[in-house]
Amino acid sequence: EDQVTQSPEALRLQEGESSSLNCSYTVSGLRGLFWYRQDPGKGPEFLFTLYSAGEEKEKERLKATLTKKESFLHITAPKPEDSATYLCAVQANSGYALNFGKGTSLLVT
């Protein structure tokens, strides 16, 4: 059974304090790993797709990386507007659904 575990559940950072969010996964054949940002009261907003181990994607202060067992979302010099819940999801080769983790709630002050 596909599983996605995100850690930590919550993270508080000072503005400018870089850190990483973790997404560990088990899936029977990875089609893609996805990162989303979700603000309170809104739908998930797509950030990145990673398809194979070693792949990296960047967008502004965010950088996502992928290994065979986990993905990291690195946040460099975060600003208060980066505060949100970050969701990780995987899609297996055999299906259509995204299997989501429970998310990491990030607060930047």
Binding site: K42, P44, E45, F46, Y96, A97, F100, K102, G103
Partner: protein
């Protein structure tokens, strides 16, 4: 407006009533999905559709019915609402091939009293 929209955004209903949540997308995406989001569970797939008139169950389909007569619309019906169906419901869509990311609507917050 382009994109994916959901209506209503908020709904309060009573146990046993039928409720339909609407989802509309303007991208002509083939795939559409319904998820529910609950504290402690994250997002879970209810139903999905690969094209008009093609639907299939997800992880938590019991108590829900879907239809897809047109590519752009994917309504979700709760035939007899229960309190356990109180949740936030998200619709999503995805193109046919190439890229697999799903794009989400703004959500419908449903409360069943």
């Amino acid at each position: 407006d382009a994109g994916i929209t959901q209506s209503p955004r908020y709904k309060i209903t009573e146990t046993g009533r039928q409720v339909t949540l609407m989802c509309h997308q303007t991208w002509s995406h083939s795939y559409m999905f319904w998820y529910r989001q609950d504290l402690g569970h994250g997002l879970r797939l209810i139903y999905y559709s690969a094209a008009a008139d093609i639907t299939d169950k997800g992880e938590v389909p019991d108590g829900y019915v879907v239809s897809r007569s047109k590519t752009e619309n994917f309504p979700l019906t709760l035939e007899s609402a229960t309190r356990s169906q109180t949740s936030v419901y998200f619709c999503a869509s995805r193109g046919l091939a190439g890229y697999f990311e799903q794009f989400f609507g703004p959500g419908t917050r449903l409360t069943v009293l």
